[in-house]
Symmetry: C2
Subunit: 280 residues, 2 copies
């Protein structure tokens, strides 16, 4: 015999759906049907769920009234959680074994750990919550996991610009840009149908040095009549101080790599230390 | 005043943690501490959670006894769910507007929808559950989201092979391979430290035609003394029939594209129709 559903059973079922579709309004009717419960019962379940998520800092649950109403889950990381994530990353990235020839830092392993990039995606979703992006833009290759998990936290499509041309994705739009660090000419390309006009694009990448790539993203989005509503990077180089973009948001600042002494100078950014970006 | 925690509150908190770390054994002590509840209470919460997940097909919850014991969540899609996902994809991909010059199919938009790739990752995690991969391998660029979400479902690192060389990831290992479709020479490269010897690698990609890339993955993993425990692709071309690999698992089969008539011939694979791959 199937036992009667209890509040906890319904709460878990509702939570599973909401966690899978963040930033999305799910009508209450979805749950009354699936769970065979009255709307008033589901409303009480959601109220309990909201309290639990608040208390254990699992994110925010909101109920929206009206015809387009329902319930929405927003992944949210508190200032303390963000700081802890940044400090943990600083510890891991300071390992001298990560220094590569040419003063680069090996970060590929961390950017490939799903549970870590899920967290980082939620950190960026917290930073940019009010920007309401409807697409997350990434640049191949290393920034893709971070950008995808940010897209997941917003539940919006990911779009990936390619260096150079694309062979099998149909008509495309390309722009040239000057790499801010190497001062060489580069190009980035996107399929024409990837970004609709008027889209609000959030650019997420793993690393920003001179800002040339980010500058190129502005140019590229202009060609699509889309708007860049934010730039988020995991790691920002302190030098050069004058970057080709401003208003970007980083989690960590790379002050320098001393190859001779095997030292990585790295710290949480001001955004990670409790000064979240201005929402506008 | 903070109200007393009820079963539902604890179930949601436990579920949130388990959903975020699938395929990972979480000790019960994690929850007794965080929730201020006795082990017997937490055990009952988990029993309820297991029943709810089973009833609503949200995945599998297992309790493991002993010193290394705890509770583990395994995302799992039923045969009916997998068939429904495949049939939905077939409907969407049959759109003649997706036909690109040269008989290619535009799939980038679908492979960039987070909620869809989360589902697909869980489908591959279901297909390959018994293979126990400890790394998911992808080939840049288009296969990355699918591979990352499969890695997420297994909670193991993602590793991405690059076409050609890598500039900033340190010493690397490369192999050459012949593309099964274009018969041209290609190369793929991985950082030396990306895959430990003895690793069990699951290769996930968006498309398999001749199997040249997959063949190259076998060669590459041999250099790392790693084992390819499975090959999963979203879309497999029916032609050529003789592929350079066998035992790969696809979700959909592309029978052909009729550019002149604007027709895409596509169907769910036998794996999607209730013949899951042999587990071994």
């Amino acid at each position: 015999m199937v036992r009667r559903l209890r509040r906890g059973d319904r709460m878990v079922t509702i939570a599973h759906r909401l966690f899978q579709e963040p930033h999305t309004v799910v009508p209450l009717g979805t749950f009354t049907g699936a769970l065979g419960a009255a709307k008033s019962t589901i409303s009480e379940d959601i109220a309990s769920l909201r309290q639990t998520c608040e208390r254990f800092q699992l994110g925010r649950i909101e109920t929206l009234a009206g015809a387009t109403g329902g319930v929405r889950y927003t992944p949210f990381r508190t200032a303390e959680q963000i700081r802890a994530i940044a400090e943990d990353l600083v510890r891991r990235l300071r390992d001298p074994a990560r220094i590569l020839p040419g003063g680069f830092l090996y970060t590929a392993d961390l950017l490939s750990l799903p549970s870590l990039v899920v967290s980082l995606g939620e950190v960026f979703a917290t930073f940019f919550a009010e920007r309401r992006p409807d697409v997350v833009l990434s640049m191949e290759v290393q920034g893709i996991p971070l950008a995808l998990m940010t897209a997941r936290a917003f539940n919006v499509p990911l779009v990936t610009a390619r260096r150079g041309g694309i062979r099998t994705e149909g008509p495309s739009v390309g722009v040239n840009y000057v790499s801010g660090s190497s001062r060489t000419m580069q190009s980035m390309t996107l399929p024409l149908r990837a970004v609709p006009p008027g889209a609000r694009a959030l650019f997420i990448d793993d690393f920003l040095r001179g800002g040339g790539t980010a500058r190129g993203v502005y140019d590229l989005m202009r060609e699509f009549q889309a708007e860049v509503v934010g730039i988020g990077v995991l790691l920002e180089a302190a030098e050069p101080k004058d970057k080709l973009v401003d208003r970007h948001v980083s989690l960590l600042v790379l002050e320098g790599i001393d190859e001779a002494r095997g030292a990585v100078h790295l710290a949480p950014s001001r955004f990670a230390l409790g000064n979240p970006p201005r929402q506008s």
